[in-house]
């Protein structure tokens, strides 16, 4: 075990050494599943040069469902105004993932929804607690992230999308 620890220290340092801050963060390449069974790689997410919101959620997570329900009410206006697209990533495991499609349709949500059943995408994005929301600019670079949802969070989100749309740079 000690030996592995030593090796790991080595690895950490190499990583630190190579860490370049000017590189913009992009989406990792992870396979997720559509609600009709297709495997899609997350690197193919795109929105014709417009911003993308990626929201990690689960059927059992109240604030997540609240966030997506709140945004659903204004989503048509958001899209019309900014061209933004919301991609909802369900982290439900095989116990509850069967409930994702009925919930999405039953709530009449108009999002692109994917299943991340065993949390591969969630881990690759460093998501701990849900809801966790990422904002991508038109070039597909991750420019902002946020965890938790409370009333009003959606207003901050759309304000950031508007800034992106105007070409202003944003960061956390």
């Amino acid at each position: 075990m000690k030996k592995t620890q030593g090796l790991l220290f080595l690895l950490i340092l190499i990583l630190m050494g190579s860490f370049t801050t000017d590189a913009k963060r992009t989406l990792p390449k992870v396979d997720v599943k559509t609600l009709d069974g297709k495997i899609v790689n997350t690197s193919s997410f795109q929105n014709n040069g417009n911003p993308i919101i990626i929201s990690f959620w689960a059927t059992w997570c109240k604030p997540c469902v609240q966030e997506l329900t709140t945004i659903a009410d204004v989503y048509d206006d958001w899209r019309e105004e900014t061209g933004v697209k919301l991609i909802a990533i369900s982290v439900d495991n095989s116990r509850t993932s069967g409930g994702v499609l009925p919930l999405v349709n039953g709530k009449d949500w108009d999002y692109e929804v994917y299943l991340d059943e065993n949390g591969d995408f969630k881990r690759a994005m460093g998501v701990g607690l849900v809801p966790h929301t990422f904002l991508l600019n038109g070039k597909g670079e991750i420019v902002w992230q946020h965890t938790s949802f409370t009333e009003g969070s959606e207003l901050e989100l759309i304000n950031l999308v508007r800034k992106l749309k105007k070409g202003e740079s944003i960061s956390n």
Binding site: L11, K62, E117, N118
Partner: protein, 548 residues
């Protein structure tokens, strides 16, 4: 330790000295990760089973980091339990790198060495996963290769399973193939019906030196699955079997195991319906035949019940019985249209769910052998016959309505049946409970809101009636909440008890800090805009989460 220290110094000098060279070789890479720490200062409290600990304070923490550069990825997680928070297995005590891996992938091939998480199909015969807040991690430590070609994904792996700070004794070998039928032939690509097929095979090797029984050293399990999608309809099914595997959880019987899970769904805009059924017989599959409880599961047999997010609704959760259960679950979600009499101005969402789980039928294999007798075939089971013992049932209905721009209301009713012996391992009486919940949001300014949550649970069994009230205030990223949980108790059996708890926190982008004080029951807590599982505690707690 001396060696690693020396390596540390050498590499430190080397890497900083030659940073420019390294940056050139590894340039363009990205480092990301996450961090969580939970610290709890304990006050002695016998009512909730939280004792004062000699260390006074317990800390669970992890720091995970990932490095990606083009097709290459490496990652690790440092974990610390000093000592573990109460409610977590004491075998977690310690600190070190609990997870590390190297990975290379391109469009066709994906190779991982080290720790990884994997799931075949629904996970019936293989699923490794991690739930940090529940203290669960059965990651596989070994090698995994995935190969993708036109509609086909093949996965092969050989590994041992993580067992707290060591590895389980069993060697796990597995293969899985997933086929997207429509992608095979161009003509089928746009067909209305989409078909997926899958097959997996998993084998566990563990030496056998039992003095009484001759045990199989290699235990094989296999599963086949199908998924069909056509318009508004979908159908999924998985069937699995396992050869004889006498083990501690099935009291050493030689019966082979099998499991069937099926799901049918119909959904369109404004309406979602699904029905699921499962039958599981002797399918507890672990990488150590002597393990029980949460130790070393290889297969994952989920509880087919709703996972509740209100603390009292989640008080009696079903524990899935991998060695025998027959269950059914159905869900209907419906949106009453906007601007109608029933739907109101903004529409109303109705969510109805019912689940039931029973024992499977069991009969003697012959007159002289008792059911489940060690060293025998155990029992016979009629596949279509329901057993006579009810394990669990849950009927719940939830209505959500946005009353105006400022007011939101959710109401929920739930009726639950909970078999004490099966779910908690101690004697009757079984619990029958009715639960009512009102959840009210008042958004009085664009970024300011008050949230009131009232819950009541009524039962004549176990610890009797419970009620809970929570008032929460949110302002931008700041929140403060007070929770009062009250157990009325049962005269002569359980004394009444109060659980007052106050918490506040602040979230800035992906960093969140919360502070809490008081008495908390274990379970799920949704406050300040996130949901998480918490252990029982009394005292002061501090949590920090961050992603970068």
């Amino acid at each position: 330790m001396k060696n690693s220290l020396r390596a540390f110094l050498i590499v430190a000098i080397m890497s900083f000295g030659s940073k420019a060279i390294l940056a050139q070789v590894l340039g363009g890479g990205e480092v990301h990760g996450s961090f969580q720490a939970d610290a709890q200062y304990y006050k002695k409290d016998s009512t909730i089973g939280a004792d004062a600990i000699p260390q006074k304070m317990a800390v669970n923490a992890f720091f995970e980091m990932r490095y990606t550069n083009k097709n290459f990825e490496a990652g690790m997680r440092y974990e610390l339990f000093m000592p573990p928070l109460q409610g977590y297995d004491s075998r977690w005590k310690g600190n070190g790198f609990g997870y590390r891996f190297l990975r290379y992938r391109n469009k066709q091939i994906d190779i991982t060495a080290g720790n990884f998480y994997e799931q075949f199909g629904t996970g019936m015969i293989l699923r490794s996963y991690q739930e940090w807040n529940l203290g669960f991690d059965n990651s596989l430590d070994g090698v995994r290769v995935k190969y993708k070609v036109k509609g086909i994904t093949l996965t092969a792996l050989a590994a041992k399973q993580r067992y707290y700070w060591s590895l389980g004794p069993g060697l796990i070998r597995g293969i899985d193939g997933q086929l997207s039928v429509n992608d095979l032939i161009d003509k089928w690509a746009d067909a209305k019906t989409r078909v997926f097929l899958g097959y997996s095979f998993v084998s566990r090797f563990q030496t056998a030196q039992d003095p009484i029984f001759k045990l199989p050293e290699n235990v094989a399990a296999q599963a086949a699955r199908i998924e069909l999608y056509r318009g508004k309809y979908n159908f999924k099914m998985e069937v699995g079997t396992k050869i004889n595997d006498p083990n501690a959880s099935n009291s050493m019987i030689y019966k082979s195991g099998n499991a069937v899970m099926a799901e049918f769904g119909y959904s369109k805009r404004g309406l979602g319906f699904s029905i699921q059924a499962e039958r599981v017989d002797n399918m507890d599959f672990r990488s150590n035949r002597n393990s029980t409880g949460f130790d070393l599961p290889v297969g994952y047999i989920p509880a087919m019940t709703r996972q509740h997010a209100y603390s009292l609704a989640a008080m009696y959760p079903y524990a899935s019985q991998a060695n025998g259960q027959m269950g059914l679950q159905t869900t209907l979600i419906y949106k009453l249209k906007k601007k109608t009499l029933l739907g109101g101005k903004y529409g109303t969402s109705v969510n109805i769910n019912y689940s039931i789980s029973n024992s499977i039928n069991k009969s003697k294999i012959n007159d002289s052998t008792a059911i489940g007798q060690a060293g025998t075939l155990g029992y016979k089971s009629d596949f279509f016959k329901l057993g006579d013992e009810k394990y669990f049932s849950d009927f719940n209905i939830k209505i959500h309505r946005k009353l105006s721009r400022k007011w939101n209301v959710s109401l929920m009713y739930m009726n639950v049946f909970y078999n004490m012996l099966i779910n908690e391992g101690h004697a009757v009486p079984n619990v029958k409970a009715n639960i009512g919940i009102a959840d009210i949001w008042w958004k009085f300014k664009p970024y300011n809101s008050l949230h009131l949550e009232l819950q009541s649970l009524f039962t004549k069994q176990d610890q009797g009636n419970w009620s809970s009230a929570m008032l929460e205030y949110n302002n931008h990223g700041f929140f403060a909440a007070a929770i009062l949980l009250y157990n009325q108790g049962i005269t002569g059996q359980y004394a009444s008890a109060y659980y007052p708890y106050a918490t506040m926190g602040y979230t800035h982008s992906a960093t969140r800090i919360t502070l809490g004080y008081g008495r908390q029951r274990e379970g799920i807590v949704c406050v300040g805009g996130v949901c998480r599982a918490v252990p029982a505690s009394n005292g002061l707690s501090l949590s920090i989460n961050s992603s970068f």
